[in-house]
């Protein structure tokens, strides 16, 4: 066996580049896959932490939808024997970001609600309950703390953005006068009067949705990452497949000799598997390291994306998990095995004395095309049916998968048709050969071309989505941010002072209060804003659908405008009646329209200021938008800051806030764009290795043409043009597929995942760039084999005529 292995491995010593290709292929496949997995694992771990603290511990929460629980009700439940524990929760908005305050009562907290792990015996424990209090938070959350804040301790096991503290401290910080909700212990006495009866229905079981939604909500994002990772993995395996195929072709003679020398086919295959395992081990480890680097590089952006899109907090640090290593290496081995199965099969069944008949490519190709065509049709029909009858995010992604795989399988079928049509039309013999030989090459290239098709169409799809989103978002931002200057007062009293001061200033045309109350509608959080009657809104605020004069209706008091997210979630349309939860009941309001609210993870709605103040007189009155001449903004901003001792972050001009929003937006899609580019790179490598493999295998097919008097230069040119032609055809076919992908992403998946629909814009410039890129990739990939062909010494070509292949 040792001799056998030595003989087998000697091949790689002669062809170090081929070995490199194989290692790169496997490493790249492993890298992107494992990188994405590392990102997902990190995010999921963060969600789990968040979930266990924020309600994913499986314990029931009791409360009143949209309202707090009165302290008296809590105490009454306890005195009646119910084991419930109070939580005061809320957001503290500081200049450096919002902080989620969770105040717990450790005295009554059920053991099962493992919200905070404190080392036994630490002085923190006493400090937690002390009047001064002690706050526990994740390291990345420290810089969001307000300037004066109780002492804090770092705890890695907590979700970012959250501050855990004693309920007494939370009560003071949030100025709460009631309990947000109650945690219901799992063990309760059986003979108690029901909670609903005791509280006259004021307190009941809360839907877990608001809490445990995070993982489901972000599923789409992770599915997206996984899809990219898997796509890259598959494309990487194409490389492995073609390289192993090449190595097999080149060692055919060696295998025959080995067999002739008495190596059994079983031994030969075992030797090949061992050799492969050796290479895979090295490549997989290299790939895992690369994957870690990719993940570590992308993690901050992923964290930002998730926070921006869903308000999900994940930590910015990557930890290495043994399961990740195991899974990554396992995938690598399994993938390599799948990619080499064909070659191993052929090695096992290698006839020692092969008849020198031409490969029966024609019949084989017809059969495999028929199979692929049937499979592709099945997939496409399935995707179509799912699109019509399916619902939910998983179904949307299944539609996407079906369309992509179906189209990829259909590619060789379509290309074959196109090429045979062209061949039958061609008169000139070389042209005829050009097309006909293209058909033959399809067999070897179809995998690489499929990879290219997938990479290109996903690129077009994602590119169209990102750019459509950018265009929509920026346009929306321009309209939405109509005020020239935004001011945030430190408290309500200062807010009133500022308003008074501004009213007296003649530079200010209008003061538009931005006051909002955080509420919940059927358990889903949303912010209710109250606006004054001012033409700014009618002139600027974008509306998706609505009554003819929605803002007048709003001013009337009995109408409400809802955000697209809120509308889609609860299937609200213009004219519907929404039952607005207010203290001590609900108020029916007519939906005057639906407005886009891109990027907001929670819902929003607008009523008149009068209506807001009637129900929520204590709403924070700190934020204002100012309408004024743009040239006065800088001066007024400076005066305001001076007059009221405001910090820099308390006044922000329109340009500033737009810049910030744009930056968040770009970061949000940075990961998608990066993965997109990486996938295209991998597809390029796949094409290169496939062409290299083919080039070696094609010598016998080119030699007779050369013998008939076609120069190597001409042959090289034809080969190059053919590669370009195939890439071009693939790219052309990728266009409609890419638009289909874009459509599914924006009209199906987006709605399921984010709750808003995007208008599709077409960007032909982008397609041309991608087409050029595809051709460039193909040219680059084909050039090498062509140069190699031109440099092939005559002797090697001649040997083809004499050697028994």
């Amino acid at each position: 066996m040792r001799t056998l292995l030595k003989a087998l491995i000697s091949h790689w010593r002669q062809k170090p580049f081929q070995l490199l290709t194989l290692v790169i292929g496997l490493a790249v496949a492993t890298a992107l896959w494992s990188g994405v997995q590392a990102l997902n694992a990190e995010a999921r771990a963060s969600y789990d932490q968040a979930a266990s603290v924020l309600g994913g511990d499986g314990l029931t929460r009791l409360g009143a939808e949209g309202r707090d629980v009165a302290l008296e009700d809590y105490v009454m439940l306890r005195l009646s024997g119910w084991k419930v524990s109070p939580v005061i929760e809320g957001r503290l908005r500081g200049p450096r970001g919002s902080l989620r305050i969770i105040g717990i009562d450790p005295i009554t907290l059920p053991v099962e609600a493992d919200m905070l792990r404190l080392p036994a015996g630490s002085e923190d424990i006493g400090a937690f309950l002390s009047p001064e209090g002690r706050v526990f938070l994740h390291p990345t959350t420290v810089d969001r703390l307000p300037e004066t804040f109780p002492q804090h301790r770092i705890d890695d096991s907590l979700p970012p953005g959250v501050a855990i503290m004693d309920i007494s401290l939370a009560e003071r910080l949030l100025e709460a006068d009631a309990v947000s909700y109650l945690i219901f212990a799992p063990d309760q006495r059986q003979d108690l009067t029901p909670v609903e009866v005791l509280t006259d229905g004021r307190v009941g079981k809360l839907a877990q949705e608001t809490q445990g939604d995070l993982a489901r909500l972000t599923d789409s994002f992770h599915l997206n990452l996984t899809a990219f990772g898997f796509l890259s993995f598959v494309v990487g395996l194409f490389i492995v497949h073609s390289t192993i195929g090449l190595a097999f072709e080149q060692r055919r003679a060696m295998f025959r000799t080995l067999r002739a020398c008495g190596t059994s086919s079983r031994m030969l295959v075992a030797g090949l598997v061992m050799e492969l395992s050796l290479i895979v081990s090295i490549s997989a480890v290299a790939g895992m390291v690369m994957g870690y680097v990719i993940a570590a590089t992308l993690l901050p952006d992923v964290a930002l994306s998730l926070r921006g899109l869903y308000g999900a907090e994940i930590s910015g640090e990557l930890s290495l998990r043994p399961s990740w290593w195991a899974l990554g290496l396992g995938m690598s081995f399994a993938g390599a095995l799948v990619a080499s199965v064909q070659s191993l099969w052929r090695a096992a069944n290698l006839p020692v004395l092969a008849p020198a008949l031409p490969e029966a490519w024609h019949a084989a190709q017809q059969a495999s095309l028929r199979r692929q065509s049937a499979l592709a049709s099945g997939l496409l029909i399935g995707a179509g049916l799912l699109l019509i009858f399916g619902s939910g995010l998983a179904a949307s992604f299944a539609v996407m998968g079906g369309v992509l795989m179906g189209a990829a399988l259909m590619l060789p079928v379509v290309l074959n048709k196109v090429l045979s049509l062209a061949a039958s039309r061609a008169r000139a013999p070389l042209a005829r050969w050009f097309w006909a030989d293209g058909r033959q090459q399809l067999r070897g290239l179809s995998l690489a071309l499929m990879a290219l098709l997938l990479a290109l169409s996903v690129n077009i799809g994602v590119g169209t989505m990102v750019d459509s989103f950018r265009k929509t978002f920026l346009g929306w931002l321009d309209q939405r941010l109509a005020a020239e200057l935004y001011v945030t007062a430190s408290d309500d009293a200062q807010g009133a002072d500022i308003a008074r001061w501004l009213t007296a200033d003649e530079r200010v045309d209008a003061i538009l209060p931005i006051w909002g109350e955080d509420l919940a509608y059927q358990g889903w959080p949303f912010t209710l804003y109250g606006v004054v009657d001012h033409p700014t809104y009618a002139d600027n605020w974008p509306i998706l659908e609505g009554l003819t004069t929605p803002w007048e209706k709003i001013a009337g008091g009995d109408h409400i405008l809802v955000s697209e997210q809120l509308a889609r979630r609860f299937e609200l349309t213009t004219g519907d009646t929404l039952s607005l939860p207010v203290p001590n009941g609900a108020v029916p309001l007519i939906v005057a329209g639906v407005y886009p609210d891109y990027g907001n993870p929670v819902g929003a709605a607008i009523v008149s200021q009068a209506r807001l103040l009637r129900h929520f007189p204590d709403v924070a009155k700190q934020r204002f938008g100012l309408r004024m001449a743009p040239e006065d903004v800088a001066g007024l901003q400076a005066e305001l800051t001076q007059q009221f001792a405001l910090s820099d972050s308390q006044t922000i001009d329109q340009a500033g806030i737009k810049g910030f929003s744009r930056q968040v937006f770009e970061k949000t899609f940075a990961v998608t764009i990066a993965l997109n580019a990486l996938t295209l790179t991998v597809a390029g490598i796949a094409l290169l290795t496939s062409l290299l493999t083919l080039a070696t295998m094609r010598l016998p097919q080119l030699a007779p043409l050369w013998a008939m008097g076609i120069t190597r230069a001409t042959l090289g040119r034809i080969e190059l043009i053919r590669a370009l032609m195939l890439a071009f055809l693939t790219a052309i076919l990728a266009l409609p597929l890419g638009l289909a992908v874009a459509w599914i992403l924006m009209q199906v998946i987006n709605v399921e995942a984010f709750g808003w629909k995007l208008p599709i814009f077409l960007f032909p410039g982008q397609w041309i760039a991608l087409l050029a890129m595809a051709l460039g990739t193909a040219a680059l990939a084909a050039l090498w084999p062509v140069i190699k062909l031109r440099r092939t010494p005559a002797g090697r070509l001649l040997r083809i005529f004499a050697d028994e292949r």
Partner: protein, 217 residues
């Protein structure tokens, strides 16, 4: 027709230089046929390749139809090959992606003087008319070699070079193919130089030349 003078050719193998052809003088008149025989490694195939312009030589001169090969670059030699020569190999070396008819007419077409009638005539004479639309993989060895012969003759070459054309065929098929070939060249007045190790086949040609140790005996 064909004139070779003092042709030498050597190869470098493993750092050692091996002289394969060592001053060959050879002439072939128009319409004449000759068999080139010799043991394995005697240089007979190499000599054929040099005449076909498939490889360069170290010394001496070769001229085909009065054209001096030693003064030609690859492009010119390719042109000569495509227009003046027909080559038949032991491996039939058909183009798998093209049909029988396309294979047969291929060289003549790229040389720019394909004669439809002659092509059809060849298909019939070679017994390939029924299978004109088939692909090489669907043909037997003898049928494939007949396509290769047809391809070489479709250009009406001045000189047909054949390298063990029946080496891959059984004796009966080989004889049939050989008779077809000889009948056709006789009809068209094509000169033939054929490498073979079979004395029986060699005897069918006008003249037999034997190579040994890079020299003509």
């Amino acid at each position: 027709m064909l004139k070779a003078r003092a042709v030498t050719k050597s190869f470098e193998t493993g750092g050692r230089r091996i002289t394969v052809l060592d001053g060959i003088d050879f002439d072939l008149a128009a319409g004449e046929s000759a068999a080139l025989t010799g043991e394995s490694g005697s240089g007979k195939s190499t000599f054929l390749h040099l005449i076909a312009g498939l490889d360069g030589f170290d010394g001496g001169e070769i001229s085909v139809n009065g054209k001096d090969l030693s003064r030609m670059d690859d492009t010119m030699r390719s042109r000569l090959r495509r227009e003046t020569l027909g080559v038949v190999f032991q491996q039939f070396n058909l183009i798998p992606s093209l049909s029988v008819a396309d294979n047969l007419g291929f060289q003549a077409r790229i040389a720019g003087h394909y004669d439809e009638d002659w092509g059809r005539d060849l298909l019939i004479r070679l017994g390939l008319a029924e299978m004109a639309d088939r692909f090489p993989e669907q043909l037997s060895g003898g049928q494939q070699q007949r396509v290769a012969i047809g391809r070489a003759l479709a250009t009406r070459p001045a000189l047909l070079l054949a390298d063990e054309p029946t080496g891959n065929l059984d004796e009966a098929t080989g004889d049939t193919v050989m008779d077809l070939l000889l009948g056709l060249v006789a009809e068209t007045g094509t000169s033939v130089l054929m490498v073979t190790h079979s004395q029986r086949l060699a005897a069918k040609l006008d003249r037999v030349v034997t190579l040994k140790g890079g020299k003509i005996l």
